[in-house]
Amino acid sequence: MRRGFAGLFGRGLFLEALFNPRGKQRGGIVWILDEESRGLSEEPFNANPVLAGYAVGWIRTEGIEDFRRNRSSLTSALGGVGDRLIWGLLRPLAVVASLIATVVSPIAAAAALLLVYNPAEIYLRWRSLRQGLEGRAAILRDLSRDGLLAHAPRMARLFALLIGALAGSWFVGHIASGRYFEGAAGAVVSTCGWLFLRRRALGFWRLPLVAFVLGLAWFAVEIVRAMTIASGR
């Protein structure tokens, strides 16, 4: 049975449900396409899950043999474009929007993250499948430098603008409430952190460790300050 657009789109949401070290997303893509993708059973499949619709469309329109010949170049292109646009730009943008919205309320913070990320991600999923089903020419046009990646510089500028807004709001918030020390300490620590992190990345577990140590050091300084102020009185 050949699935329609809605069926392919719905099943696409489960692409990574069977993710595993050997086949990666192979079980997922075979489940999406059924017998059309049986030739994939022998080899692994791994692509950015949001843009995997291009691969699904390629298999549907060009056939499994043609897909197998172009598999590595297509999945690398999907990884390159998708990882930059979605994990590198869209998700950080949503996180920064959420951090800014914490000024308003906790619910606004959660809503901002979901509302910035989801419409754009769902559009990309829909577009990847729609263009994928148009065939090779439409897929290559979207994955070229003038395709989806043309949006990357605009997203990066918006990301930079929002980061600046977050920092500005944070510092003014501290100064306005008379917490000059926290404002100054935050500025110094973030600048030093940025100078360090632009040269090398910290691993997933080092980040909380460093944040924790920084927080405790900050706490120690606050205690000393409180004691100094108390002894001055």
Binding site: P92, S98, V103, A167, V172, L197, W205, L216
Partner: protein
């Protein structure tokens, strides 16, 4: 914090959904710590008490990259478990215990994820060997595994909050511990901002400084107006 039956069911289902959202289904980003924590707070009627925990975890893990099959901790489960502790134990010491508990939960989810992926591999092999028969069941189990992991993490959070939280809560408080939450969030905030600045510099290229400066002015002016209107 007293937990009603409906709240307990609600939190277990929410934790299951968040954990499945990280990889297995849809990826709507409900597993991001700030979202997972705020909704946990909402279930217990106190989102403002859960927000600091979600904020701290979000700041230390602003944007992990799930590429190349990287094994990432289940941030949603960690945030939910930590929020449950923060809701049970108020103040700076509650916040400190909550983030340590959240990190511990996150650490335990990594070997669990590795096992889930191995089990997925075995199920996939069997289904493909049977020419795709049983693949739908394998997908359902592939979603059920992370869902169960989220529920177990939330259950651990509920137990910890109930027993350990109940033991800590009556202890005498020192006013100085009130500074602890602020300091820990300050440290994570500065580090998170530094990480995001480094990321934006890589993504934007040479013009990054102009855009960040423009944003700085807009953010400062906006916050100034908000503060004045208050």
């Amino acid at each position: 914090m007293s937990t009603g039956l409906l709240q307990a069911i609600g939190i277990l289902v929410w934790a299951g959904l968040c954990s499945a959202d990280q990889r297995a289904v849809a990826s709507r980003q409900i597993h991001q710590p700030i979202v997972a924590a705020v909704v946990t707070g909402l279930i217990f009627g106190a989102p403002e008490r859960a927000l600091p925990v979600g904020l701290w975890l979000q700041l230390v893990w602003p944007t992990p990259m799930p590429i190349g099959g990287a094994l990432l901790p289940d941030t949603g489960s960690a945030a939910i478990a930590a929020s449950l502790v923060a809701l049970a134990v108020p103040g700076g010491e509650g916040f400190l215990i909550a983030i340590l508990f959240g990190l511990l939960v996150a650490w335990f989810t990594i070997p669990w994820e590795r096992r889930l992926r191995r089990a997925n591999g075995a199920r996939e092999e069997r289904a493909l060997a049977a020419r795709g028969k049983g693949l739908t069941g394998a997908i359902a189990l592939g979603v059920g595994g992370p869902f169960l992991r989220g529920m177990v993490a939330a259950g651990a959070g509920l137990m910890f909050a109930r027993y350990v939280g109940g033991w800590i809560e009556p202890l005498p408080r020192t006013p100085v511990l009130g500074l602890l939450t602020k300091s820990l969030i300050g440290g994570a905030g500065a580090l998170g901002l530094a990480g995001l600045l480094a990321r934006v510099q890589r993504e934007t290229g040479r013009t990054w400084f102009s855009w960040v400066s423009a944003g700085l002015l807009i953010g400062a002016a906006g916050r100034f107006l908000i503060e004045v209107s208050r």
